[in-house]
């Protein structure tokens, strides 16, 4: 699955510096829109507190709320399925497709189905699912993964989209007009919407007291799919729950403002029961979430409402692109979720951060993201998921830094050779020098100066 470690993929990304600047500025613009929207609400920090508190409470009582939600959903006539992991999730959906003898189906955005690699699984069974979110359709046509959880094709410029549509939708070559391109996508998708027998959607919020759920989109594509098809399958992770419908008043206000700076998503659609003649299925997935819930230091990560504010603010994400994280959910939140799913494969991710802390500050549910990145590093080292060269370097550094006499000696040699900085694991191929010089060596260290001038 992983072609490269984050650092290498990022290096490849940055090689095109003009494009990196464009990517950085595009996402910084979204961050600024988020700032403006947040500044517009004097009660912003209060809302974040409430959202965090509600999610915390829900996670502490998750089994009860899940049971209550199932009970109410069943009463509403929704069929509820439980999936232990990605494979079960995919099998359940495959089964529904087989039983309904379904050939044509559409899917709106669902990061969970990306996490479970549903499309690839179904493709292997000869079943094609059409993604209907514009960005997702673009990356689907290009056989790429989404690079951002809210803006799946944000790594592409309009020229790239134009080329892709020219190849697959037969649009005019070189016509980069966004209006023209979206209109072409609209026409292209219309046939699939009308013909779909089954629609898959994600879930943004599942409400325990009503047994209903809310799906937020800007394009209305979830609604189009679910309203046209006779079978609606909604997929959700166990952490999507909130206790009461009134709590939506907190979360819907935070979600769109944090995501794009909009006061609310264009469509916030409430689904409670199938319409006459329709089947409505809910697939509730664990896939490692209960394990994460059991990790005291990391349980908070399950509060995430997938707004991607932490992506947009992350100075590393903006300069390395979503694909460098080689996982369905990239960015800072992905870096604390993915080691739980596969520690070895994702051991590089918690290190793809300067721990600047901006992510934790924008997070609408107040996840201590950067602190969890730090804590994951400790876990990964203890579990043996760092290269042994790093271990030797660290051990040498520790020795020097815990022995004052050795330290003074090393410092002296270091200043002479200008090769040694304590935080830079010392070796001859030190990447510091690729694009940076070391500071000019002073004639004496501070302690030498102090010795002469103060004692």
């Amino acid at each position: 699955m992983k072609a490269m470690e984050h650092a290498q993929a990022a290096e490849a990304f940055i090689r095109d510096e003009a494009r990196t600047d464009w990517h950085d500025e595009t996402l910084w613009f979204v961050r600024q829109k988020r700032d403006l929207a947040a500044q517009g609400l004097p009660e912003w920090e209060q809302l974040r507190d409430w959202a965090s508190g509600i999610k915390n409470h829900t996670l502490s009582n998750l089994s009860q709320y899940l049971a209550l939600f199932e009970e109410n959903a069943l009463k509403n006539g929704i069929k509820v399925h439980w999936a232990m992991d990605a494979v079960e999730h995919n099998q359940i959906i495959h089964q529904i497709i087989k039983e309904g003898k379904i050939c044509r189906m559409v899917k709106s955005k669902s990061m969970l189905t990306e996490e479970c690699h549903l499309n690839a699984y179904l493709a292997a069974q000869g079943i094609e699912v059409i993604d209907t979110d514009l960005g997702e359709r673009i990356v689907q046509l290009r056989k790429e993964a989404p690079s951002h959880i809210v803006l799946p094709a944000i790594h592409l410029k309009k020229e790239d989209v134009s080329d892709t549509f020219n190849e697959f939708l037969d649009t005019e070559k070189g016509n980069n007009d966004p209006q023209y391109l979206t209109e072409s996508a609209r026409q292209h998708l219309r046939d699939y919407f009308v013909g779909a027998e089954l629609a898959i959607t994600g879930v943004n919020f599942a409400i325990a007291e009503t047994g209903g759920f809310v799906v937020c989109t800007n394009e209305g594509n979830a609604d189009m799919g679910a309203h046209a098809a006779n079978i609606h399958i909604a997929c959700m992770g166990i952490e999507k729950l909130i206790p009461k419908a009134e709590h939506l008043g907190v979360f819907l206000r935070l979600l769109a403002r944090s995501a794009t700076g909009q006061p609310i998503t264009t469509y916030s659609s409430h689904f409670h029961r199938p319409r006459p003649g329709q089947q409505m299925h809910l697939v509730i997935v664990d896939n490692g979430r209960s394990r994460q819930l059991g990790r005291a230091d990391f349980r908070n990560s399950l509060k995430c409402i997938r707004c991607a504010a932490c992506f947009n603010t992350c100075p590393v994400y903006r300069r390395s692109g979503g694909h460098s994280y080689h996982t369905a959910v990239a960015g800072p939140i992905g870096s604390i979720l993915n080691p739980n799913i596969d520690m070895k494969a994702n051991a590089d991710l918690p290190f793809a951060s300067t721990l600047c802390g901006s992510c934790s500050n924008v997070c609408p549910v107040k996840i201590d993201i950067h602190e969890q990145l730090y804590k994951w590093r400790q876990v990964l080292v203890k579990e043996g998921h760092v290269p042994s060269s790093k271990k030797t370097g660290m051990a040498a550094m520790t020795l020097v830094l815990s022995k004052p006499t050795l330290y003074r000696l090393a410092g002296k040699m270091g200043r002479v050779a200008l090769k040694y900085a304590p935080f830079v694991v010392n070796n001859s191929l030190n990447p510091w020098y690729k694009q940076r010089d070391m500071p000019q060596a002073p004639e004496e260290s501070f302690r030498e100066w102090y010795q002469k001038n103060r004692k």
């Binding site: 400790q378 022995k403 410092g411 200043r415 830079v424 510091w432 002073p442």
Partner: protein, 246 residues
Amino acid sequence: MKIGLFIPCYIDQFYPKAAVAALELLEKMGLEVYFPKNQTCCGQPMANSGFEHLTTGCNRLFIENFSSFDYIVCPSGSCVMHLKEHLHLSGHDQQAKAIREKLYELTEFLTDILEINELSASFPFKVGLHQSCHGQRGLKLSQMTELVAPAFSKPEKLLAMVKGLELIPLNRKDECCGFGGTFCVTEEAVSVKMGKDRLSDHLRNGAQYITATDLSCLMHLEGILRRQKSSLKIIHIAEILNHQPL
């Protein structure tokens, strides 16, 4: 008041002038300042790389060297933040806790403990302030642009007391410079790109000097500047605050 001066390893070795400035500045305020000579490092380089379990030696040294002071002052927000969050030593819980509480970054010590309102310094240049993340977001030395909360800035308050100094505005007031400890080598490409982008922001806005409460950020930025043969210079905030009229 007895002050213990903590000078992080890389300042001791590479930027002694900043340490001298911090010392002189505190002495000018009439304080008794000592530099315990067996100090080395706060342990952050190991801890941030996932090796916090190797920091026991550093922690012990720190406690031995600094327990006897009324306050401990350090011209690096990052090291202070690390110690405030992670200084522990089994069997010495009380001492570690006491140190965490009396440890201050230099600028916050000046504004919050000494509550100074004037300085005799002069620095007639255009200066860009780089907000080092650990000082800003970790120690809350200034308000963060992500939050909806009243603005304040301890370093800016002090810089405003310096005669002739013109603080330039930045397009991105508090974006990280990309240093990040071992990140600067393990993620070399991103680290340098972040640094270059910070530098262009300062250059675009006319800075002659970039200052900060952390030399680690400045060392990284200086590394790029020197490679690019730029005339923009870096200077630790202590050196500005201690800068005498010529």
